[in-house]
Symmetry: C2
DNA sequence: CTAGAACCTGACACCAGTGTCAGATTCAAG
DNA sequence: CTTGAATCTGACACTGGTGTCAGGTTCTAG
């Protein structure tokens, strides 16, 4: 599929999809004329990438991580190196802390909203 | 208390504490010589501010939000305007979505870590 | 063949909180 | 008083994913 359709279906801008390619997160085929041609599996992959970006991972970590995920492209999943596992574990813990912050902030907002709306 | 101690106790840099002041998130007293002098309650307040920043709120929203929180300084809490309530509700929903993303990312990382570590 | 939509590359800008440095002033202990 | 630690203001840089624009090429329906 072409970049326009992929953008539409994932909600990610064409600009970002091209950026992902420079970061080696996506490797679309090319038509003879040079247009990008993505496989169907790219949709899921892009959604995953977006989630990981939203979670604060940098593109280089995501690039290392992707080949270790299964169901990415049906391909055999590469096993993460001990170094990468250590990095990912640190990210995991950071995400845990971030979730805690978010929950506290949500509670804070809820309280203010509730107080403001009548009692 | 002085800025150094506040920084130490909250884990927030002095640079950031000064920045918070320009954004009107903190309003410390000043010594005759011009040094900042924070009340004890500033510690909690700074922690809250950090959580809110970490949750993606911008300083202007936080500045509007803070006076509506209770326990901020023992002072009477201002009631949020309908406009502000609408904004905060949108933020709340955004935070909810962010938490969902984070949980999914955490699950992704957990799976890769688990696969890599023996079976 | 042709027109318009879609796509290409490359470049510049932005955001907004934070790090860091420089040079001057204030504070507090001896 | 002196001296070293702490603080002050102001300025510049960075980060890294994304928006946007320009100028050119490819695709596809009629």
């Amino acid at each position: 599929m072409r970049i326009g359709e992929l953008a539409r279906r994932t909600g990610v801008s064409e600009r970002s999809l091209r950026y992902y390619e420079t970061q080696e997160l996506l490797r679309p085929e090319r038509t003879p004329g040079g247009h990008r041609d993505y496989p169907e599996s790219a949709v899921d992959r892009v959604v995953r990438i977006q989630e990981l970006f939203a979670s604060g991972l940098h593109s280089s970590k995501i690039a290392q991580l992707l080949p270790c995920m299964r169901d990415t492209d049906g391909g055999p999943s590469v096993r993460a190196t001990p170094k990468l596992v250590a990095d990912l574990t640190a990210e995991r813990d950071r995400i845990d802390r971030m979730i805690s912050d978010l929950v506290r902030s949500r509670d804070t907002l809820d309280e203010v909203i509730q107080v403001a709306q009548g009692r």
